[in-house]
Symmetry: C2
Subunit: 294 residues, 2 copies
């Protein structure tokens, strides 16, 4: 990691440095598979095409927040981003959300075909577990947490796509919250958990932080889908509203949705309690995610 010399050994690296570090490790994870040319290219397209890298950054920041070494959390960070990338590739398929655009580029199936996109998603899901198993610290609990987060995310996709809710869940807002908690927050929570596990801290503290920012992230997404243009988002805007999907603004209105974001941001910051200065990047991240515009 290229830290400025005057930053000193204890200074926290900037997010941009972490993104660079994560992308280098993602590229190395794919290279390590020694795939045949086409599959290699399609996998790189799906995994290395930009994005916020929120989940791996959370793994690294959570590890840092409990006093761990950031480098030790890199395999787990790669694992979480692979789960996220796999979910996007499958979610964009015609039989699912049928999206042509992702991160301002054609989606994987638009470039390589549906068959390859299905298989690239499968490959990335497997790579996630293979990377998690390479964690130098606690590989078993790390991989268990990655897989549990991934499974909850898949359950959320089912509810979002076809319903199939638990029989006792009848209120629309409760169903929407379940979708958001599973489909989006579960992976974000798992990212915070595995970072805490690698760093030797209390996974429960970071789990609470992850639950708050995870739900907040999706409520903000709902608000942006309602208020921002396709060009600005780099993915199709207004799609949820047009397709009649449940969203926070649709069920609660924009004002109450924004109030929910503020509550969740406060809950996230407060959950970090007495973790002190090493958790400062996580506090700043909660604030930034609350006010993001894409």
């Amino acid at each position: 990691m290229a830290a400025a010399p005057e930053a000193g050994a204890s200074a926290s690296p900037a997010d941009a440095e972490l993104v660079e570090l994560v992308e280098k490790n993602l590229a190395e994870a794919v290279a390590g598979l020694e795939l045949a040319p086409l599959l290699d290219e399609a996998t790189r397209y799906a995994l290395l095409g930009g994005g916020k890298r929120l989940r791996p950054i959370l793994v690294l920041r959570a590890c840092e927040a409990v006093g761990g070494r950031i480098e030790a959390a890199l395999p787990a960070a790669v694992a979480m981003e692979c789960v996220h990338a796999f979910s996007l590739v499958h979610d964009d398929l015609p039989a699912m959300d049928d999206d042509d655009l992702r991160r301002g580029r054609p989606t994987t199936h638009k470039v390589y075909g549906e068959d390859v996109a299905i298989l690239v998603g499968d490959l990335l899901q497997g790579l996630a577990a293979e990377s998690a198993l390479k964690s130098p610290v606690e590989p078993l609990p790390v991989t268990v947490a990655v897989l549990e987060g991934s499974r909850r995310m898949i359950e959320g996709q089912v509810h979002d796509t076809v319903g199939g809710f638990p029989d006792d869940l009848v209120e629309e807002i409760d169903r929407l919250r379940l979708i958001h908690e599973l489909k989006t927050a579960a992976l974000i929570r798992a990212s915070c958990r595995v970072g805490a596990i690698v760093g030797g801290g209390d996974p429960l503290v970071l789990d609470r932080y992850g639950a708050a920012i995870g739900l907040m992230f999706q409520v903000v997404d709902d608000i942006l889908d309602e208020t921002q243009s396709t060009e600005h988002l780099g993915k199709t805007g207004g799609k949820d509203r047009r397709s009649g999907k449940r969203t926070y603004p649709a069920l609660l209105g924009l004002e109450e949705s924004r109030a929910e974001v503020a509550r969740l941001e406060a809950a996230a910051v407060s959950s970090l309690g007495d973790l002190g200065p090493p958790a400062e990047p996580l506090r700043a991240l909660a604030r930034r995610l609350a006010v993001r515009t894409r």
Copy 2:
């Protein structure tokens, strides 16, 4: 396990008993996830709808062959069957092989829709790794082997579906062998490997056995597709020939394909070398797989 009392403690259980044991453990693995009703039903449909259970049986028999306890290999056996089931669900999708029939029943996407089928496949792939991690013996190497087999299988699917072969592989028969070795044999090899790992034996010996019967299994499949009816197979017969797919009979003729089966059977039996009586079920299995008619 309900063994006949007069069989004695050291007698090897019959295959039918192992199938029953595997299916009980598969059902328990799904129940343990506590899925919402629809996803639970669709997952059971995909995983518990019959089949030969070849891969889990191989895990258990390989474990037995090297002197291990069959019960210790059950989580790994469940893992291998979950990988197999996930691959079938995705392989049958319209964007892939577009099959309506599997094991004599409508395929998962015909019953539950493509979206649910994609997600059930994803869920089963994750469940495979979650089960492997529950191995009471060597969970890390077991899970690594399961995931490597799964990844090779996915690579084989890519070659089978869209090509993308390594640049130096130009002969049709070499490309077909690569497809078969990856798409079919890799999981069968991995099954034998993980059984040997759990049983505390030499994974390489069982790997050689698995490589031989794995390729043999697919050559027999090619022959059956050419010679048997849809009704007899429980899946669409003659499909490979009609779709112009590479097969052993198409490239080498039926007679040479049958000779290849005989050679691979001999190689499988010979690879077991001095493993003695505990490996007898594996020898019998190689013979049975060579002459199977469905």
